[in-house]
Symmetry: D2
Subunit: 137 residues, 4 copies
């Protein structure tokens, strides 16, 4: 099944004075899911990328929709799919549900770059292969 | 000129191990600009909204594009325009430049809600009027 | 054994341009550990506290020592002990180790308050009992 | 007058579901004040330190006291003094007041290090001199 899933708990630090998730914190959680996917499913951790390979995957663009609020203490089920693989970029679809309700729908484009030149760099084969497993046709 | 401008300095806390702004921090900065606009230009602060009126303006959706990275110590010139006024929502265009280079382009849809019911609520006239001044035709 | 343990992974979002944990993020992680302790060991979650009981446990004071830096991708073993139980406060000792090295030593005083009056409020028996189990003599 | 002052506004992103400042955010604000002091008063910005000199000033330890809560929209007057200058460390006293009430009292020990070796490094004269101006006897 080409989906990576990750449960994420809504903590006090994610919530705002209206007692719902403050949306920049959703992007922190989304980033934690992406980071977990790279380490556990793609096989190259952010630590290896940044500290050994001198590479990174900054976010070039994102579209996000938050159809319903999330509250302190809830656990959201995040799922990640690959929509498109480019030479040195990837489009991810990440969404989160709780109690049958969609809370977050995010599309995100990451670019694989060299941290030394700051320029984009084709995905190496050891990353491309596992990433392809998550392509949703 | 229907533009609200706000310079924002890139602090240590905004930057990641690649020494560029971590994109969830951009949304924190964007929110600070929106908050400043409500207080200084619209005339109703987040404090009044949340603590007196029991209202809020959560983000329903956003589209963001980060064409070039920003670095520690840079000052970004943010500008905010209103693209569309709805009955109880507003679409904002927020962008940031530094040294003639666009760093951030964000479209964001805010919904005016009651914090008591959690439901949307038409903009009151004291807010709608000043917001209309920032509409870009 | 009167110790609550929680492994916490150092994520990209915790690290600064020097590629080590930015110390305010340690306090976010410490708060996540405290939150987990209240839910899993004390038996009253932050969600119940804030949204049902209208109570909270703000931090009155803290002392923290960071003898060695932590890096992206490391997993820190946090341990929490109760040093002192007051009528409406508690002193916690929270520390974190990685590979036999102490990374974080934090003492923290929480005060149990009513979110309505903002005043301190004695611990209810259902919380005091389980908290006492973590007292280190 | 050996005091560095900086007004800091309490933003939505600093506040928690109890509608007061979440204490890890105080450390973000304190860091912003320290960063501003280094740039404006000491004369060496964090950007220069990290990106040119390959140096940093991580926090070795801190003691903080939060005698009263701060709320959304308030402006806190931060003041910074030097308590002790060491060979490669400095103890700062940073406090914040609002409406005649003390909200934050923080002591913090920073260590000047080489980002390459990770080891402490004596303050260079161009930094030591201006820092000495803020010593409170």
């Amino acid at each position: 099944m080409p989906v990576f899933v990750s449960p994420q708990k809504i903590l006090f630090q994610h919530c705002d004075p209206a007692r719902i998730v403050f949306y920049p914190r959703y992007f922190e959680i989304v980033n934690a899911v992406v980071e977990q996917w790279f380490e556990e499913a793609v096989g190259v951790s952010f630590a290896q990328m940044h500290m050994v390979r001198e590479e990174g995957v900054p976010t070039l663009k994102t579209e996000a929709y938050f159809p319903a609020p999330s509250r302190l203490g809830e656990t959201l089920q995040f799922s990640l799919r690959v929509i498109r693989m480019g030479t040195s970029s990837v489009d991810l679809d990440i969404r989160a549900e709780c109690e049958g309700e969609v809370r977050v729908e995010v599309k995100i484009t990451l670019v694989h770059i060299s941290n030394i030149t700051g320029k984009s760099k084709p995905w190496p084969d050891d990353m491309r292969g596992p990433m392809m497993n998550f392509i949703t046709e």
